[in-house]
């Protein structure tokens, strides 16, 4: 009988270890409770926010760069049936991806900002480091909100981690002005004060991180968008005149600015970084120059994009050569018959090099969110709006000189149209045109003109009338409204 008792005793052991036995943590993943406990771990959370830039400005067709170009008067859909190109926006096809990715970056920033606020730095050096991290997270959060407000108008305001996901219901939409004043501007100001300047030794080998110069440039853009030229001028003056963000200057050669070899040059302010060798390839060229992609690449996208003749006409009429040839490719490829449509070549490799990238996932071309030329033109615009036209001229002329076009001499001829023209020539395909048109109130006129006017080979019309003001905002994603009815839809949808 003894041995049975022994056996029963052994069995009883299994009853004892029960509670712990069924408490399991993942072995191949970190779980959130035990992380973000030192500066290095906090940095990895911050890099997680940066990584979202590649998602937001990613190359796939439904995402931000594609949408913002196709909605402007610069690029067109070859099939003339893209709803963003033709401004046929209905609730059924509301743009969800921009919303989703934008908030994903915001949530990541909120999480890391909360982690930083809980963290106690060991010493003063670390204190500065942690503050810079926080500044960068604030910059990214502001950038994301800025995009959302420009695309959707009023959006839900979330600035802290949501511990209980059910609390995300019923938040509703916060007025855009409130988002600007209570989130975007304070965030950018914190970033200006705490991020490193361009060229700071801390940024050696990590030049893709946000700087106080980047925050100043975006803040300038924010003020212009808010129609506050004096604040814009004040902010941009700090960058350009006071050099408060470090030394910036225009890169000598316009064509070569975008080459991967010249990343983070003197003109670079903030870029989305790509690196094929590290498994983070850019493939803008796949949609920006789809025909050549089809010819030479293993993969193609359905959305086929070509340059609007409207844009090419403006290049030709203004006598541009350097910027024209480095922005638009004539479309002549010997292998193609019939000749291909002209394509955007600014952020894409030369046709001869495309074949190199055909077998791999993509190339190293960065996407410039903003650069010094943008800042200079914004500063000129702000001064022009403040009627300090003569003060504005040198800045616009810096850009023109680099591009090899004659300088402007008559201050009185400086109008918003001149600025917009300059911006279009200089910044085409960099995601600025559509927002420039919207903030200057020219969007309905210019975009309708492009859609309704036959120019050169663009000799067919696929829209019956001009676009309407309400269409300049995207509809709030219907899926999101279904989940939370306190979200209201934009007017007109």
């Amino acid at each position: 009988m003894k041995k049975y008792i022994a056996l029963l005793a052994v069995t009883a052991l299994f009853f004892a270890c029960s509670e712990k036995f069924v408490d399991r943590q993942p072995e191949d993943n970190l779980s959130i409770g035990n992380y973000f406990t030192n500066a290095q771990e906090i940095k990895s959370g911050l890099v997680g926010c940066y990584q979202k830039l590649q998602t937001i400005y990613g190359s796939f067709s439904s995402q931000l760069p594609y949408t913002v170009e196709i909605m402007s008067d610069d690029l067109k859909d070859l099939h003339w049936n893209n709803i963003f190109h033709l401004f046929i926006k209905t609730n059924e096809n509301s743009q969800t991806v921009i919303w989703t990715n934008g908030y994903k970056m915001i949530v990541n920033c909120n999480n890391i900002i909360a982690a930083i606020d809980k963290y106690k730095a060991k010493d003063v050096t670390e204190e500065a480091l942690i503050k810079a991290y926080r500044g960068e997270a604030c910059f990214l959060r502001a950038l994301s909100y800025f995009n959302l407000v420009r695309f959707y108008g009023d959006v839900p305001k979330v600035t802290a981690p949501l511990d209980d996901p059910n609390k995300a219901f019923g938040i509703g939409r916060t007025p855009g002005d409130d988002i600007y004043n209570s989130v975007i501007i304070p965030d950018l100001e914190f970033a200006i004060a705490n991020c490193y300047n361009k060229g700071n030794i801390e940024l050696n080998g990590e030049e893709a991180r946000a700087t106080s110069g980047a925050a100043l440039t975006i803040l300038g853009k924010v003020y212009l968008t808010m129609n506050n030229p004096s604040k814009a001028a004040e902010t941009l003056k700090k960058l350009i005149v006071d050099k408060a963000g470090g030394n910036y200057s225009l890169f000598s050669n316009f064509q070569n600015f975008f080459l991967p070899a010249n990343k983070f040059n003197s003109e670079s302010v903030f870029e989305v970084n790509y690196n094929a060798a590290a498994g983070q390839a850019s493939d803008f060229f796949r949609w920006m120059c789809p025909d050549i992609g089809v010819l030479l690449c293993a993969r193609r996208y359905r959305e086929q994009v070509a340059v609007q003749h409207n844009l090419m006409r403006e290049f030709v009429n203004s006598g541009e050569t350097i910027r024209y040839t480095s922005t638009v490719d004539s479309g002549i490829v010997p292998a193609a018959s019939p000749p291909l449509q002209p394509w955007a070549r600014k952020l894409t490799p030369a046709p001869a090099d495309v074949a190199t990238y055909a077998v791999i996932a993509g190339c190293d071309y960065n996407y410039p969110i903003t650069r010094y030329a943008d800042a200079l033109l914004m500063y000129a615009e702000a001064l022009m709006l403040l009627n300090q036209k003569s003060d504005a001229l040198p800045y616009i002329n810096m850009v023109r000189t680099r591009a090899g076009v004659p300088v402007l001499t008559d201050p009185d001829a400086l109008t918003i149209d001149v600025i917009l023209h300059e911006r279009r020539m200089e910044l085409a395909f960099e995601g600025h045109r559509y927002f420039d048109l919207v903030r200057t109130g020219k969007a309905v006129e210019k975009i309708s003109y492009a859609l309704l006017t036959r120019i050169d080979l663009d000799n067919q019309i696929f829209r019956s009338g001009p676009i309407e003001e309400y269409q300049l905002l995207l509809p709030i994603p219907v899926d999101e409204i279904e989940k939370d009815p306190t979200l209201t839809q934009n007017e007109g949808y």
Binding site: F15, R24, N29, I32, V47, F169, N273, N275, A361, D479
Partner: protein
Amino acid sequence: MKLTLFLSMLTIFQLWAVETYSQLTKLTLNLENIKIADALKEIEDQSEFYFLYSPKLIDVERKVSIDVQNETINDILSTMFEEKVKFAVYDRQIVLTSKEETGILSLFQQQLKITGTVADKNGVPVPGANVVVTGTTLGTMTDSDGKYSIEVPQGSNSLTFSFIGMESQEIIIGALTQIDVTLAESAIGLDEVVVIGYGTMKKRDVSTAISSVSSENLKDKPVSNFAQAISGNMAGVRITNTNAAPGGGSQINIRGIGSINAATSPLFVIDGFPLKDGFDQYENPLNSINPADIESVEVLKDASSSAIYGTQASNGVILITTKSGKTGKPTISINASSGFQNMINKVDVLNKQDYLQYFEEARIAAYLVEDPNLGTNDPNAPLWQWTDPPELRIANWEQYSQHQTAMLDPGSRHYRWITTIDSISQSPYNTDWQDATTKTGKVNDFQLSATGGTENISYMVSGGYYDQEGIVPTTGYERFSFRAKIDAKISKRLKVGLNLAPSFENLSVLNTTLSDGTGSSPHLTNPLTVPLFAAPIEPVFNPDGTPYLLGALKLYTFRDWNLTALINPYHTYLKTDKRQTARNLTTLFGEIKITDKLTFRSELHNEFRSGERNIFSPSTAATRNNATDRTYGSNIITSRFYWNLQNILTYQNTFGKHAVTAMAGYSAEEAKYRTTSILKYDFPVDQITTLNQAITILNAQTDASTFRSSESLIGSFGRVLYNYGGKYYFTGSIRRDASSKFGSDQKWGIFPSVSLAWRVSDETFFSPLKKYINDWKIRGGWGKTGNSGIGNYNAISTLGALNYVLGSTSAVSAAYETNKVANSALGWETNTDWSIATDVQFLNSRIILSVDYFYRLTDDLLYRKPLPVITGFNSYLTNVAKMRNRGFEWVLTTHNLTRQFKWTTSFNLYYFRNRVLDITSPLAGDGTYTTEDRPLACLYGPVDLGAFDDWEDVKTHPIFGSTTARWMSRSIPGSPKIADVDGNGILDASDYTINGSAFPDFTWGMTNNFEYKGFDLTIQMNGTQGGDINMVNYGTTAQGNGQTNVTYFYFNNYWTPYRTDGKYATPNRKEYVSDNVSGALIFKGSYMNIQFITLGYTLPRSILQKMKLGNARLYMNIQNAWLITKFPGYNPEINSRGDDPTSQGLDRGAYPLSRTVSFGINLTI
């Protein structure tokens, strides 16, 4: 109605069958001067009568003449023997005794000694069988060799032979002194034992819903897993053959479908070991269990039987019991079968001649939609005609079309869109792609087993080899399986045993991984669907024997034909996807009889499963766009180490009429998973496919990785089985489980159950009816079970690893982000189940009927509750939804003929109705939609109204694209017509609606067994009525684009000016938007299948003894003998996304069904 008719026919037949055969049978004989022995033989040949007599006692050499017409056997025999012989007729059996000597016998032989052997069907002796003089208590038992000897008192009529689990047999003694008996396994014996969770019980005492099948149902069928052999055998258990490829999976759902986001597959328990395997479409985990090793399969269908398995039981439990060693002389059994397979249910697609007509008509339609007057108010519209000749079409397009610029450019060859190029009719080919891509498959199955033992130790060892070569090239399955079971009685009270079951599998599946980025149209690359779309005017191979390019870069002379780019299946066959699985199941158990009534049993189970998958794609495997492809290969290794410990204490006792079995137990288990995967590109040569050769790793982070996870479960459980005199039954069970998968607030769950049964037929008031109804039981139960079939760590918020390059070099910085929402309240799904049923046996168990009603309410369904994405997430897993399944099951078994010619029919019918009662937000699946008050995963899309009849119809009905200027969407007569469901005059996504449900109206199965002398015949059929299938990938069955082949089904029914009542849209080179015509792709999946026909012949004992064999049987089996269905695809049981409950009834390309004809032999030594 049909069913009622069928049932009443069976009843009539039954009544007729019980009438005495001897009274009904009339014979006509005309025999001149022959021996009585020969006369008797003649009667045996003409009828079912057979005679028993001793030639020593009866003079059968005497010659007689008989001339009778239509006389009964009594009259004939009276004439023949002229009162010298006494005869007694027992239905078909006639015993002859000598009148004169009876008296002598009675005087001198008070006792008659009878000896003989009792064996089972396979010739294996049955030790311990009861031999009783019928109607007395006199009896004996067979010894270990199945032999017996019994002294029978004078005047005894017959002996009854019986054994548990076998059908009793009564043999008339007559003058026989040796009686050898073969006992058949009972079809539904009440004394049969059934396996229940953590124990067994007598079938007679079952008060819950348990279906069971025995090894009889599995034998002789050349299938790789047992589920294929028994689909349709059990009411309430729906086994669908969703993937007919070798080694492919069957989907098993018990009593409806139990979940939306968690597992819907039942729990499989093999010899007490609950497995971790569920449904897998491509690689059936049940394959590793050799069907030949299975003794019985029991299915616990209701919660009152399955609640003992707690959180794992809500989808039902399937208990598999393997064969065990038997005490007695060693028996060696060999089974070998070999067969071949051919494709059935071929899809009827156009031949060359009809293809050319359709090709031209698609181009005429494309021409007509460019008519410049369309959409204008011109009273003369339209200008262009269907009958316009090709030259006029080209001229019109050059002048008016939107494509005029391109038309004028000879390089664009736009005229291919609107006319047929001459060279097309010059094609010398008329290819039948389905024939070209299928072949004759082969199935071989060899089984060897040995069993035996002494009083203290018994063993069973077996080995099996199964090999199947599929009907589609490159597909095949091979299995080596072994099993050893040793039970030893160490002392009077202690028993131990060890089971080992290793298996090794090799599976080769079609490699449909795509590298050319055309994944959005998988049907144009899938080697199972391409044969339906490829044009008959193209060849399969080039003259040099290499596969002909069907892709966009067609390097052939007929480039002008303008066909859709496809991938030639023979290019896909160059790729490989090979999977190897090694698995070992081990069980060690000890059992202590603490007292006679109290037993403690401890079982330790262990499984190690290791799978390896190798994929390779050579440079010569063309894509849709290129003649060659970038080479790539991958290697994925998974392993699982899993152990389970169970301790069970059982108490069994009877006090007078009270019988009690009480059980308490505890179990703990842990499973650890590991995965390694590597993906590399650029192999220098195609011949060597190992990854050491490859040059490139594209993404260092994702393309070379390992993963680990683990899960654990502990449970304590108890059960009481009580009955009073076999009349009143009570069963109660309870289980408390904790699972690592759930949140910290919801780790523990309690699952109780109760069931009651009443044997009405044993009540005294019932006795007058007992003659007709020998057994009648009413049973019912209630219980709760849980579902823990979700992934690990779902309750925990985790950080996902990412990286980002912060500088201009390629140095990456580590990045982390939250990739899951934590939910500490995440718990199991609760399934509450009520059932009521009755079992009735009529006419001495000749007719057995069971009717079950069940009602399952599944609450707290795990559901990905949508979250506003401002949380960073789209949804999170929580317990919110509610769903109901209810239905009926009928099982009718009739023993139509029971004597020498035996005929048994077993029929079952099952239906369930599923309804989602509560869901926070509708859920879209793949072409499906789940919403409240509807069945799960309804088919969803536009409502197809066929084609526009005429211009009047086009003008008065909303058309596509009324808000866009897309030329593609211009409507003309013959264009697809879709219902404007919301009535707003615009056709768009808001007109999508529910078009059907994949769940069938009912399913049924019927098995007929016939036995006559040495022959046996089994015909097993099953069928499904209703249930919709969306042939999402077969767009051309409802819309042709003139670029792929179509079915005759479509060809004979599409709109043309000469067939304006055609119900499908005209083919059009300018394809319609496929979503808009998808409503026309829904078909009923009803079918009837003669699933198996098995014909066997067992050699007579006399021959066997000469050959020194225990048993020998030859058989032939036909699988899928005859399939009747109107479904136009390959497989009416297809469910392409069967692993996802929210996407039901989709046909995304099926492996063609085949008919297997195999021949085999069973030998027992």
